[in-house]
């Protein structure tokens, strides 16, 4: 389901347009349109919405984000301990979902920055772009190319290969 639309983080700072001193004698249609909109559309909609919120405020209740305990990882499981495998697998899936959401959030931040800055985006959004590049590279290193059949075991094997490559690179660099 779509996330809640409480995007307080992406609020654009208030515009600083100066007050215009127009010298035209014709009346400005903008205030007239604004009042028309607020009487015809805004006031009824706000009234209905506030009525609905008053009905809903009579019985408030809450929902929470579930916090899962950390269980031993797949690398700490003994061989043949299928229960440990199952719990480590479940934890790995949860962590992968969390990482996906992290990448998504960083991507949205970059998008919001571009939308905000407009023509200045290439200079002012450099930090967000750099962060996104690092995060996607990290995600690709850890979870990329595992495929649809990827599970905690294949991810652990991928990590093992990464560490072997790193060690080889270190050994060849120190020679």
């Amino acid at each position: 389901m779509a996330e809640d639309r409480n995007r307080e983080v992406y609020k654009v700072p208030p515009t600083r347009t100066p007050v215009s001193e127009g010298t035209s004698t014709l009346p400005n249609p903008i205030p007239f349109l604004h009042t028309a909109f607020s009487y015809i559309v805004d006031a009824p909609v706000t009234f209905v919405r506030e009525w609905i919120e008053r009905q809903q405020a009579k019985n408030k209740y809450y929902y929470y984000h579930q916090k899962f305990r950390r269980v031993p990882d797949l690398s700490e499981c003994l061989e043949g301990d299928y229960l440990c495998f199952y719990e480590a697998e479940a934890q790995w899936r949860r962590d992968r979902m969390v990482d996906q959401e992290i990448v998504e959030i960083v991507r949205e931040r970059l998008g919001a920055c571009k939308q905000r800055e407009g023509p200045n985006q290439f200079q002012n959004c450099a930090k967000e772009a750099e962060l996104l590049a690092q995060v996607t590279k990290a995600y690709q290193d850890r979870y990329g190319d595992l495929g649809v059949t990827g599970n905690a075991r294949t991810c652990l094997m991928k990590q093992k290969h990464r560490m072997i490559e790193e060690r080889k690179a270190q050994a060849s660099a120190s020679e």
Partner: protein, 190 residues
């Protein structure tokens, strides 16, 4: 009653015969400007003043299509409208839950992790808690793991008992030694 229906049937037959004779009479004079018509489509026309000649337009039947669409609409709305009203009522008067931090020392129930009231209701009364599901799956895994271990141990025991021959398995029935006829071997010079 029966006489009435007989009279009506006779009247319908007389009318059909008159119409047929009208068709036949009209077919004798085709060069008098009558347009070529399909047999049986001759009908009296009346020129109305406002929109030209009234036409009896022959079209393929739309009876089955409209009947199907009417029935479809009826049966979809029969349960669709009550469900829509119910969901609207729930959304307006009960409303969704608000996100909050878990208070200190409080363990929320498994349905309190959902936002929409109908999802909460389903999770509370219809579905099993996810902890129970988890434990059930782990129990299945545990039983299967124990079964594989037992099977491997059985295979090992069979292998060793066959090899060493000192276990209760792999005993074969042999014939009684008193039945053996030793008369062939009893005399050395046979």
């Amino acid at each position: 009653m029966a006489a009435m229906s007989l009279v009506l049937r006779a009247a319908a037959a007389w009318g059909a015969r008159r119409a047929a004779s009208g068709v036949a009479g009209g077919a004798h004079l085709p060069w008098l400007g009558e347009a070529a018509r399909l047999p049986g489509t001759v009908a009296p026309v009346r020129h109305s003043s406002s929109h030209g000649k009234r036409m009896f337009i022959i079209k393929a039947t739309r009876f089955y299509d409209t009947r199907f669409l009417n029935l479809l609409r009826f049966y979809v709305f029969l349960t669709g409208i009550p469900v829509a009203i119910f969901i609207t009522y729930v959304n307006i008067f009960i409303g969704e839950a608000e996100l909050a931090e878990i208070p200190e020392g409080y363990i929320p129930e498994h349905w309190e992790y959902y936002k929409h009231p109908i999802s909460r209701w389903i999770a509370r009364y219809l579905l099993d808690p996810p902890e129970k599901n988890y434990e059930k799956e782990m129990a299945v895994l545990d039983i299967e793991a124990k079964k594989t271990q037992l099977r491997l141990m059985e295979l090992e025991a069979r292998r060793l008992m066959r090899q060493r021959g000192d276990g209760p398995w792999y005993h074969y029935e042999t014939p009684d030694k008193n039945l053996v006829d030793n008369s062939m071997k009893s005399t050395p010079d046979n």
